[in-house]
Amino acid sequence: MPLTQDAVTESVSEVSRQDTIQVRNLRKSIRNGTRTVDILKGIDFNVSHGQFVAIMGSSGSGKSTLLGLLAGLDTPSSGDVILDGQSISYLPEDKLAQVRGRTIGFVFQSYQLIPTLTALENVLLPHELNADSSKSDGLARARTLLTSVGLDDRLDHYPVQLSGGEQQRVALARAFVLRPPIVLADEPTGNLDTVNGAAVLELLLNLNKTEGTTLVLVTHDPVLASYADRVITLRDGLVVSDALNPTPAAL
């Protein structure tokens, strides 16, 4: 799938006003019993608007921790994450929740749908949690998105009634429902077989393109990373390579 031209030509290190994500000297240590383990040891990078970045690394490299910090699910030990010009790292919990809801769409490896809600209700949930009450188009948008991922006939099914691929497609629709500027995906095809995985990836990239969002994808799969405009590789809590991909693979 072709990517936007300006994203490819933009310099990686240059900080511009268009940078949707800015990461500044990000560190995270955790206490493990009596030992302190440094998981992230100072990470810096920026992601400009509309870019598709893959973050790669082996198990234990710190990529999931990085994703958690990018999403404001966790607080760093030091450093900063700036989303859309707003520093989010040290916001109070409820403010942070608001940022998450409005700025970020999530796609998880294990779908993380609410088991007691139907597909449609799952997609609608971010809208109910975050949208202003004046916006009443949530339901229509949820239906449209579910239709666009091919689930128009499964709206009222519960997660357990859906296959893994279908569940992940619901999760995709949910991630985009509020038109967030950023979508974060954590091994979105990790739990799926090749065919379903490819289908989900195609939908994700399609939505990313049509919605004009910035996409950060965490994976250890080089094939998956080859679709990205840019690949950042982590090892032992540090960025070991950050390379633009002039010719992203097409599905």
């Binding site: 955790i30 206490r31 919990e93 998450r100 809801g101 007691t116 809600l117 971010p126 949690l129």
Partner: protein, 865 residues
């Protein structure tokens, strides 16, 4: 700020409830059983107490009585008219000694005459007649109702004529018992009941004659159908004491101390049970909700990652909690009503009593309110914990602690504990409120809450210490222990397993259940003594000194006598002065001055049967020997209060021509069920040596042999009056036995409910074990091995909770029994039994709860992940 609409929040809450009905069923059941115990115990004990108090009133035949031997003054009459205008009913009862004679033979006989208004008397209870009939139908202005010993002595039959005063009356029936026989004055001569008009026409009641006058009062029933409250009776009593200074006013509670003490003990026990039910219900709810929210961690983390604020999530679970509390509350109230409706039928066949049951809407609302409120209160801490659930949970299973500096740690701890402490305070406040509603007393609520906090703190501390000790032991012996035992013990320290909280909850539950059991045991034991079948039921009046030994011999060998006869010497005297103040200057409370002129003294070397020293000390052998020169006296405590006596006061008595000062040594309280219970002033024998004495006696005779003995006594000692209270005593005994049944039933119900609640709390922890079972199974553990590990874990939990709970139950019960003046002793056997039973039940519940998990294939659970 956008927020989740109530509709969406309710939808999510309701969906969750529907999707895991099984889990929620336990929560609802916990609440329901708690509420059921509360409404059932409370409602039932209320109706039953009303019924029993009605019985107690029938011993006096009214709510209150005022005894005097003077005609009321015009001002007093006016006051009494005012009281009657307010709806209080009043009827006079006149008692006097008189002579009667058979119309044919003119044989004279001393009789104790009692004039009543048959249209009003008695206000409570019935007059038992032979042949059975209504008093109003047989007692007219021309007829009398007589005791059968009169017929025996005068050789008369029903239908014959009896001359009383200057009028002839027809004997229309035989009186077997009248409700207030026990509270009437003990007079010589057979009982004759006469109408008021008949008494007037007999001409006996000349002005200034020595008639005892009693007014019986009955309170108007409150309009809402509830029983007459004790406070209303107390108010009227105070008014009457003020209005009639020369009369002795007593309320129905004072007529039979054993019965009222039994009722009071039973009532205290029943309120205790209500409170215990409340706490157990709350424990059940708290445990269930905590386990429930533990299960919802993932969902909460997902919602947080989708931008939900803690407030929105709390809103969802608050609604859920409310729904659960409401559902449990409704179910509980229904169950409680069911218990109330079903039990009387059961009881009726046993003791032939059917309490009037009115379903009190207030009790129902209170039950429902208590259910919802305790659910809310106890879910507050887990709800507040929602705020600290970190959304990162969805990316990383185990969230490690962050590295924090000490001040940071401290501030975080304070921040977290501040809300927890306020939640805790809120819970206490709420519990105090509910407890004071349940027990109808603010101070009970306060003390209950203070006690609860204390006990909880001690329980937590004890659990903590026990767990620490065990851990120390484990760390020392670790590898020497068999692996199943080691693993089972180590499970107590599983991360995230709130062992000390579970232990405290379990210990609290065991303690409460044990408390109910021990209290019930002690109170029932006490009640059984006061309903013992060998209390005197035949009283003998006016036994001459010379007749005492012969009487004792006759009573000892007579048929049907089941206990040694009690014979009591009486010396007539009067009080001349108290602490130097002359009789007419003494300040008394509700003690007519004229009664100071007829004080009956008795002597005893040791406290007589049925009497207890309440204050001061009974005399020693040395004091008794010296009592000729230094007289001492033990005074019944209620009379001491009326006469404003204190230990060490001096009472100047005059008997015949002798006057002496006696020092008050002790206050006594009698159970009202022995011959000696009538003795209000007891002195050492030496103090009364040489004074003219007559004797009173009491003996228990099997009801079937009463009339036989009566005839024999009459033949041998014609001047001795025999008063038969067998019937009245049977009534009291019946009531006490009823109290015993009720107490036992409700205790059993509370204990059962408690066990179910605790079992479901234990069962609630099973979800935490699922993952562990999977891991164990995948590495090849057999079911038997896993079951073994769990058994050890549960057995230790049960034993520790049992030790802590049983110990504190004994401590608390000891204190409570002391307050209720019930003798107490440590019940080692029951305590040990309780301990073993707790451990056995814990293991059994653990097994049952884990059974399903054990049977599951590892993959089924791994798939669910």
């Amino acid at each position: 700020m956008p927020s989740l609409s109530y509709r969406s929040a309710s939808k999510i809450a309701a969906r969750e409830m529907r999707s895991s009905r099984g889990k929620f069923f336990f929560v609802i059941l916990s609440v329901a059983i708690g509420v059921a115990a509360l409404t059932g115990v409370r409602g039932f004990s209320n109706s039953f107490r009303t019924t029993l108090l009605m019985r107690a009133r029938s011993i006096m035949a009214g709510d209150l009585s005022a005894r005097t031997n003077q005609q009321p003054t015009p001002a007093e009459t006016e006051g009494l008219t005012d009281i009657q205008a307010e709806g209080v009913r009043m009827t006079p009862v006149t008692e006097l000694l008189s002579m009667a004679s058979a119309a044919k033979t003119m044989d004279p006989l001393l009789i104790s005459l009692k004039a009543v208004d048959p249209s009003n008397y008695p206000f409570y209870g019935t007059v038992d007649l032979e042949p059975a009939g209504k008093l109003a139908a047989v007692l007219t202005s021309d007829s009398v109702v007589v005791a059968d010993d009169l017929l025996v002595r005068l050789k008369l039959n029903v239908g014959d004529q009896l001359k009383i005063g200057n009028k002839l009356f027809r004997i229309s029936s035989i009186i077997v018992n009248e409700p207030d026989r026990l509270s009437s004055s003990f007079a010589a001569g057979p009982r004759v009941l006469i109408s008021r008009q008949g008494l007037e026409e007999s001409g006996l009641l000349a002005p200034g004659s020595h008639a005892g006058q009693r007014y019986l009062f009955k309170m108007p029933p409150p309009p809402n159908g509830s029983p007459v409250s004790d406070s209303a009776v107390a108010d009227l009593k105070a008014r009457l004491i003020k209005l009639l200074p020369e009369s002795q006013v007593t309320d129905y509670r004072e007529t039979n101390p054993a019965l009222t003490a039994g009722l009071d003990q039973a009532t205290s026990l029943l309120s205790l049970m209500s409170l215990v039910a409340l706490v157990l219900g709350a424990v059940g709810v708290a445990m269930a909700m905590r386990a429930h929210l533990q299960q919802r961690l993932d969902t909460i983390a997902i919602m947080k990652s989708l931008g939900a604020g803690s407030g929105q999530i709390i809103k969802i679970y608050l609604i859920q909690t409310l729904l659960l509390g409401l559902a449990g509350g409704i179910l509980g109230v229904l169950l409680g009503i069911g218990v109330q409706l079903a039990f009387p039928y059961l009881l009726q066949s046993l003791i032939n009593v059917r309490p009037d049951l009115h379903l009190d809407t207030r009790a129902i609302i209170a039950g429902l309110g208590a259910g919802v409120l305790t659910t809310l209160l106890f879910t507050l801490p887990p709800l507040l914990d929602i705020r600290s659930i970190r959304p990162i949970l969805i990316l990383r299973r185990a969230v490690d602690d962050e590295e924090l500096s000490l001040p940071q740690k401290l501030s975080q701890f304070l921040k977290k504990s501040r809300s927890q402490i306020s939640a805790f305070l809120l819970i206490l406040g709420g519990l105090a409120f509910i407890a004071s509603r349940v027990s109808d007393s603010a101070s009970v609520g306060k003390w209950f809450t203070v006690g609860l906090v204390g006990v909880l703190a001690v329980l937590l501390l004890a659990s903590f210490i026990v767990l620490k000790t065990l851990k120390f032991f484990l760390s020392r012996t670790r590898l020497h222990l068999p692996s199943v035992l080691r693993h089972g013990l180590a499970n107590l320290y599983r991360p995230g397993n709130p062992s000390s909280a579970l232990l405290a909850a379990l210990g609290m539950g065991v303690m409460q259940i044990m408390m109910v059991f021990l209290m019930q045991h002690a109170v029932v034991k006490q009640l059984q003594i006061s309903s013992a079948p060998n209390l005197p039921n035949l009283f003998l009046v006016d036994i001459a000194n010379s007749e005492v030994e012969g009487m004792r011999a006759l009573l000892t060998r007579a048929r049907g006598v089941t206990a040694a006869p009690e014979l009591l010497p009486v010396v007539s005297s009067r009080i001349v002065a108290i602490d130097g103040a002359a009789a007419n200057e003494i300040k008394t409370k509700n003690f007519p001055k004229h009664m100071l002129r007829s004080i009956q003294l008795t002597w005893a070397e040791t406290p007589p049967p049925g009497a207890k020293v309440e204050e001061g000390k009974w005399w020693s052998a040395a004091q008794s020997t010296a009592a000729g020169e230094h007289p001492l006296v033990a005074v019944a405590d209620f009379q001491a209060k009326r006469l404003n006596l204190h230990i060490g006061s001096t009472i100047t008595f005059a008997a015949q021509d002798k006057q002496f000062d006696a020092t008050v040594a002790a206050f006594t309280r009698s159970d009202g069920q022995h011959a000696y219970s009538r003795a209000e002033f007891i002195l050492p024998p030496k103090s009364l040596a040489g004074l003219p004495t007559i004797w009173y006696g009491g003996v228990h005779v099997a009801p079937a042999h009463v009339s036989e003995l009566q005839r024999e006594l009459y033949a041998k000692y014609p001047t001795v009056t025999v008063i038969n209270v067998a019937q009245a005593l049977e009534t009291i005994r019946g009531v006490v036995i009823q109290i015993i049944y009720v107490v036992q039933f409700l205790a059993a119900f509370s204990i059962f409910a408690g066990i179910v609640i605790l079992a479901s709390s234990i069962a609630g922890t099973r979800y935490r074990r699922i993952r562990e079972v999977v891991v164990l199974k995948t590495i090849g553990a057999t079911r038997a091995r896993i079951a073994g590990i769990f058994s050890i874990e549960f057995a230790v939990l049960g034993l520790v909770a049992g030790i802590v709970g049983v110990f504190f139950a004994n401590v608390v019960v000891n204190g409570l029994l002391r307050i209720l003046t019930v003798p107490s002793q440590v019940e080692w056997g029951w305590s040990f039994g309780g301990l073993i039973l707790t451990a056995a039940l814990t293991v059994a519940t653990g097994w049952i709860a884990s059974h399903r998990i054990l049977g599951q294939k590892p993959l089924e659970i791994l798939r669910e992940e």
